[in-house]
């Protein structure tokens, strides 16, 4: 059921229809447009040799074989030699066309891939909706692979055969406009028929895609939920659920396959009818003198025409074969274009204002945030946090704490109001400057596959191994680092999975620490660390961040106890503000939270 549909999250759907997709796609890829005219001209030339063959057939039969008692081999040899030359020449055109197309399309697609990758990083959806990441990876991988595969295979075939059909049609018209008309009258109705069938088929394949997504969701439950499946002994049930979805997908696929088969074969029948009609009408025309000037033979002309009909209808037959591929490629392209056409919600200013050097102060004026669908997540936030202050932000799950941190670090922009750092409104600060001065440590301490040192260096490129060690030492984590098999050179594995969640948070903290920001934002950055270590880190952070501004979203209230000031969020608003002692004395929301926390951490009496 829940097929990943990024449109819910603000990614545009992309142009409607195949033609609009093609136009927009060409607009966005100058590499594809460049020299396209020449490539298409080469495509037409590339098929000329093939269309010349029926002419040679006609010349041979009419000029050399039929109606002469002694076949004139000279005529035949000249016709054959000329056509062979044409074939060789057009083969070179074919080489040039195919190579140019491959070069242009791969260059263009690689550029599109990179631009889409960057655009996705610039969008908020990546960190807002983790469950859609897989779909976003598909935008820069399989979607583009499909376009590339199509252009290199089906695309070349469509272009070449299209050129072939056009040239064959021209040659047919030269031999006999009457017969050409007959063929067009028979083949013509196929075009709207194919278009209609195409619609039916595309809906059938849409169903296949939906069922496929549902099937993969079921399979992913057996992988992601592996521990739960085993702990509760529901292997049979899980397997049955998957088998059901597999069966549903198969049924949808088979239905689409049957439709496609029928469609492909219809072109065959039309070709047969056209050939039969040309024989009947052609003989009748020939007898009536409509095929050749009186006295000249017309057997070769009619035969050549029959060859040309095959060359004209053949592409239609092949087109139906590659249209299915085209369909997939175009919908992939549309999805990629949708990404490129989505403007980032949070934009880097063209000309940035620098945040004044030195400790950073924070100011919120009338800030409100709401998602397009739904009510306020945060409202009426007016506050000033002085430079070098250490502030703890507390509140229950869903009270708006994390949104506050995201607005502060400009991962999102407020719906209303302004956030300023040292007096500069955030939208005016260049990203490069902002990220250098303000660093947030998220709860999920994501690590890249590499060593601990490499991950810490990610915070500040060029940091030496000694400096990395020093960072752990200063954070009071040197003894932990030394318990690891290879200390800072220990590899963390894919996504840091060789380390425990708490250990990953320690590395993430060191990474932010070496980045040396003026404003450090911690979003429950030590939530999975044991209390003793957490308290130790807390003390270390206190001393090493002295002189900077630090804002900590706290899961455990020990952080609040040590802060200069506490902000209490409740239901999207700041309801209390003051020192820990003041707030406890006030007996409000914070006092209640704190009492519950105390009860959890202190001895029961």
């Amino acid at each position: 059921m829940s097929a990943p549909d990024a449109t819910d999250l603000g990614i545009r759907r992309g142009p409607a229809g195949a033609w609009a997709t093609l136009v927009r796609g060409l607009q966005l890829s100058p590499e594809l447009r460049e020299g396209l005219g020449l490539t298409l001209a080469l495509a037409v030339v590339a098929t000329a040799g093939k269309v010349a063959v029926p002419v040679a057939v006609q010349q041979t039969i009419d000029g050399g074989v039929v109606g002469v008692d002694d076949p004139r081999l000279g005529v035949v040899t000249v016709a054959v030699a000329l056509t062979a030359l044409a074939l060789v020449a057009t083969s070179f055109a074919g080489y040039a066309m195919t190579y140019r197309l491959a070069r242009a399309s791969e260059t263009a697609l690689s550029a599109v891939r990179v631009r889409a990758f960057r655009r996705i990083h610039d969008l908020s959806i990546l960190h807002q909706a983790a469950e859609h990441r897989g779909a976003l990876v598909a935008r820069v991988t399989s979607d583009i692979d499909q376009i590339s595969r199509f252009i290199q295979w089906g695309g070349v075939i469509l272009i070449v055969r299209g050129g072939q059909a056009l040239l064959a049609l021209a040659a047919m018209a030269l031999y006999s406009w009457q017969l050409t008309l007959v063929v067009l009258l028979i083949v013509g109705p196929m075009v709207p028929l194919i278009a209609w069938f195409q619609g039916v088929l595309s809906r059938a394949f849409d169903t296949v895609r939906e069922r496929h997504a549902a099937m993969m969701t079921a399979v992913s439950e057996s992988v992601v939920g592996a521990a739960t499946v085993r702990a509760y002994g529901i292997e049979d049930r899980t397997e049955a659920r998957i088998a059901e979805r597999i069966e549903e997908e198969f049924r949808a696929q088979f239905r689409a396959g049957r439709l496609a088969s029928t469609m492909f074969s219809s072109a065959e029948v039309v070709a047969g009818v056209a050939t039969a009609a040309v024989v009947v009408v052609g003989v009748w025309l020939g007898l009536a003198g409509g095929l050749a000037p009186p006295g000249e033979p017309w057997v070769g002309r009619l035969t050549a025409f029959l060859f040309l009909v095959t060359l004209f209808v053949g592409p239609l037959r092949i087109a139906t074969e590659v249209l299915e591929q085209a369909q997939t490629a175009i919908s992939g392209w549309r999805r990629v274009l949708g990404v490129l056409d989505t403007e980032p919600e949070v934009a880097d200013p063209v000309v940035g204002t620098a945040i004044p050097e030195g400790p950073v102060g924070v100011r919120f004026d009338g800030v409100r945030f709401r998602y397009p669908t739904g009510g306020d997540v945060l409202a009426d936030v007016d506050l000033e946090i002085g430079a070098q202050r250490r502030v703890a932000v507390v509140g229950e799950t869903g009270s708006g704490k994390t949104t506050f941190a995201k607005l502060l670090t400009r991962l999102m922009d407020p719906t209303e109001g302004t956030v300023r750092l040292s007096g500069v409104p955030l939208p005016e600060v260049a990203f490069a400057d902002l990220r250098r001065r303000v660093v947030m440590v998220p709860q999920d301490g994501f690590l890249f596959d590499g060593s601990i040192a490499e991950n810490v260096r990610y915070g500040r490129p060029g940091t030496s191994d000694e400096r990395v060690r020093l960072a752990f030492l200063e954070l009071g984590l040197a003894d932990w680092l030394d318990t690891l098999p290879e200390a800072e050179h220990t590899r963390v594995g894919e996504r840091g999975e060789s380390l425990s969640v708490g250990e990953r948070q320690l590395v993430a903290l060191a990474r932010a620490y070496v980045a040396d920001p003026d404003l450090l934002v911690l979003d429950e950055a030590t939530s999975a660390v044991d209390p003793a270590t957490e308290v130790r880190i807390q003390r270390a952070l206190d001393s090493v961040t002295r002189g900077r501004t630090a804002i900590a979203i706290a899961h455990r209230l020990s952080t609040a106890e040590a802060a200069d000031e506490v902000l209490v969020f409740d239901d999207g608003r700041i309801v209390e503000r003051g020192t820990h002692a003041d707030l406890v004395a006030r007996g409000g929301v914070y006092a209640a939270l704190h009492a519950s926390w105390m009860a959890g951490t202190q001895a029961h009496t």
Partner: protein, 593 residues
Amino acid sequence: MSTTAPTAFERRIVRRGLGVLAMAVRTMPVPFAIAVAGSTLYATATVGSAVALGWVTDTVIEPAYRDGDIATATLGLAAAVIVGIAVANALGIVVRRTAAYWMQYGLHAHFRRRVAERLTRLPLSWHRRRSTGELLSAANADVEATFWPVAPLPLTVGVLVMLVLAGGVLIATDLWLALVGLLLIPALIAVNLSYNAAVRRPATRAQQGRAEVAEVAHESFDGALVVKTLGREDEETARFEASSQRLRDDLIAVGRVRAVFEPVMEALPSLAILAILLVGAGRVAAGAVSTGDIVRIGYLFVLLEFPLRALGFILMELPRSVVGWERVERVLRARPDAPQGLAEPPSPEGPAAVDLAEVSFGYDDEGASALEAITASVTPGRTIAVVGATGSGKSTLASLLVGLAAPSDGQVALDGHDLRGLAPTAITAQAAIVFQHSFLFDASVRENITLGASFSEEQVRAAAALARADDFVAALPEGYDTVVGERGATLSGGQRQRVALARALVRRPRLLVLDDATSSVDPSVEREILEGLREAALPSTVVIVAYRRATIELADEVVVLDEGRLADRGTHAELLARLPAYAELVTAYERAR
């Protein structure tokens, strides 16, 4: 372009690839047979249409021209024959394609079921050694890649039939003309083979390039928040661009090979027709063949051109197929490290007894073990807290207790039975574990609690109430029937944990293991839950992995782990008094005040 000789690796790919195709045919013989029948009809009709056209030239067109007249009946017969052959041809196509789809999609379904069966049955330790992406890809892209060449397989068989028939027609017509045709076929095959040899290397590199691009994108997007908060988008884009450009260069190399061979393969049949004209005119002059013979053979080559290309399709897809199959096979061939137990002893009444004897556990071969020689017994009905620093082995111990992992040394016993000897169902019937990150299925809240077992509405609600999930579930749009979305995405972390807790409680397990299972629940709610559990007097032995002091104090006894070793055990008060490391751990917050 010079064609390189196939390496041993490439020969192995072709051999393995043909093996995969043979396996596909053995798995689904019926649709394959039908598809081949359809393909044979198609091949016969295709050659037949060339023969028919030659016949029409000789018996209709030429006599009409010569005599200046033709019988309507003859003309009608000619038209009927042509249309009839076209219909037979179309029928052949429908049958072949439908059966080929049946076969291809049927193979997808068959092997997806088998992969899913392995994914659900293999032990957790096996899962942990592999990435989610790798396992999902086995059921998805790898299965599809494996059976790509299956779609054109029946067509290929048809093409072989076509070649035999065409050869027959050629020989029957005229030996000289046949010689021309028989030169064309080996030429086409030779070009095809060298095409494949030339394209294989860049194509394989491109395939690896695609995988690399996907890997970078996956990792980079997974780490999006880190990339953004540290402002490293430019570096990430450069990293992605580097792999994207390598892929681009390989794909252009593939395109270049295609550009060389495609026009040659296009031109060959046309050149053959020209040769036929040249030789044919001479043979007509010699009185050996008729105009119709030339038309028939020329037309035959026009028709054969496209099907002959199909031979190449299969060869071209073989490397992808083999790589896909090797990945699928890795999952299908996987077996648990240790055989599953079979014993299903009758379960005694009341809470379970748990005994650990010299239990050690190491993840993979990474030297340091997560647990070392733990010996401990838990008296039935007691509540034990497991306490230790980050990385001390608490979660490992929790999963050993319910048989999700097997100790590398020593034994874990439930009611005196070694877990390794027990059937999985015998364990799950007694024990339930709740994880810190419990998994919710894309199903209703009720189904997530029952997991398909038959519990009454009352039981479900009672368990939810005990887990303090009843209030928020009642507030959901459809209460217990609300579907929670993929992985429970519509619920908060704390809500997911409470549903997962209800899932364990509804089973009234004799052994309940809570692995930091309420970490995302607000402290006040957590306290209600824990007090509720104590008051509910469950028939359970309870093991709680926890950090919060209040949680620990609810336990009758505390087990302290330190770097995988059992440091001490006793009541909270005793440990506080005699174990400084323990005191430091559990009173950290108080001392920080």
